[in-house]
Symmetry: C2
């Protein structure tokens, strides 16, 4: 089993869950495998309250964080893993089969990262917008004729895989190696990347980089790009400082435009 310290660095995030039974089942699987940190994003309120106040509801369900957006739910995470079946759309980031996930999680825990495992709503799964906050997609290898799993069962299978295949206390075991060269730096938090993306986007607008009609598409691509880069926190701050400076200059120039004309 993973250590308590490791389990405390893995968040389970349910995006807009509908069925109170599924919410309860997800919480029960978490309790079965020793996970404690649950966040729900924009739940359907009546069902969420029903699940939360159900007799026999898990303590972790009552302690769950409720967030308006996925961006907020994963803001302190360094590795956001989306779950789902890649059938309809071409994925925009790396896809890993669940049995191959453990080494990636071990590495992230070893460098003191914080991980979110994100599950979409029952009917249609994570949206393209949701997925743009994910560094990685994980796919449960299901039958092509019946690929879509029940939410509670998908959570159980993913948590079972992590608990049984991630090497316990890999962070302690690999601690001496962490000081050696070649070990990867920590990466920026998801929330830092969101702030950076915001400033870059304002800069793009100020610089007339792309037409306003393309704004949503650019924002989406930018989010994915920043996650692909695996920027470390200090570089993230550096780039943010640079863009703030550029933005200020452009805005000043734009404002000063009439003076020069």
């Amino acid at each position: 089993m993973l250590s308590e310290a490791q389990l405390a660095r893995i968040d389970i995030v349910l995006v807009s869950p509908r069925n109170p039974l599924n919410i309860g089942a997800a919480a029960r699987a978490m309790a079965n495998f020793g996970f404690t940190r649950l966040a729900v994003v924009a739940p359907y309120e009546p069902h969420w309250q029903e699940a939360r106040s159900a007799i026999g509801a898990e303590q972790l369900l009552r302690n769950a964080r409720e967030c308006a957006t996925l961006s907020k739910a994963v803001a302190t995470c360094t590795l956001v893993i989306g779950t789902g079946t890649v059938t309809l759309r071409k994925p925009e980031q790396q896809v890993v089969s669940l049995p191959d996930l453990a080494p990636i999680v071990e590495k992230e825990l070893a460098r003191e990262g914080r991980i979110a495992l994100v599950f979409g709503p029952e009917k249609h799964g994570l949206t393209r917008e949701n997925l743009s906050y994910c560094h990685l997609l994980v796919e449960i290898p299901t039958d092509v004729h019946e690929p879509s799993m029940n939410l509670g069962q998908a959570v159980a299978v993913c948590l079972y895989e992590l608990v049984t295949r991630v090497i316990p206390d890999a962070d302690t075991v690999s601690a001496p190696a962490a000081s050696q060269p070649g070990v990867e730096d920590p990466v920026a938090l998801s929330g830092q990347l969101d702030i950076l993306a915001e400033v870059v986007e304002q800069t793009m607008i100020a610089a007339d980089y792309s037409p306003l009609t393309m704004l949503a598409a650019s924002r989406h691509d930018l989010r994915l790009l920043l996650r692909r880069l695996r920027i470390n926190p200090s570089d993230s701050r550096r780039i943010l400082g640079l863009f703030r400076r550029i933005l200020w200059r452009i805005q000043r120039a734009n404002g000063a435009g009439p003076d020069r004309g």
Copy 2:
């Protein structure tokens, strides 16, 4: 993924399931992972019919076998695997943690065996009587504070483990090895062992081997003993023949007793 031929040699058996939602969830997990053979033992009829006729019910649920006893459900199997959490009682047979199950299943498929994976009722799991039909117990490694899993989730986790960790077509791959010495013989079917146990028990009674008050306990121990031995089919027939002969002699002697007296 396992081949269709391999999946067709693994039966999923639900003993006295109560909740129609759990029955549906178990069937859905089977469909997700490509399993097709479901048997239910002594289900609570109204709930079983409800699950079976539910809109969107899996085809495999409608094709499920309904058996009066576990003995009948697993009669053609050579390896019966019980599931559960070993907390309250001392197990009477080998216990394997789920992540270690795959090599055992591979070996059984390689020698053309038929496997049953047996799940108990929601409330209390498999009874001691149920367990005496099992060659092996498998345990899902859950948290000690919350060990008991939901039925549908337990089925999903077990099937995920088999599908992802059993080497696909291990029977084809290891076919050349099968003719080499040292590879284990096929083993007797569960139903053959039941017939043998019946005759041995009659012989014990006829021979006044143990008091009638001990009969239930002896029967239980005998069932477990025969499964521990992993008798091959021809030896099973040989032993059966021997006991039938002994039984006939004792009965004749008992019947002839007064003549000699």
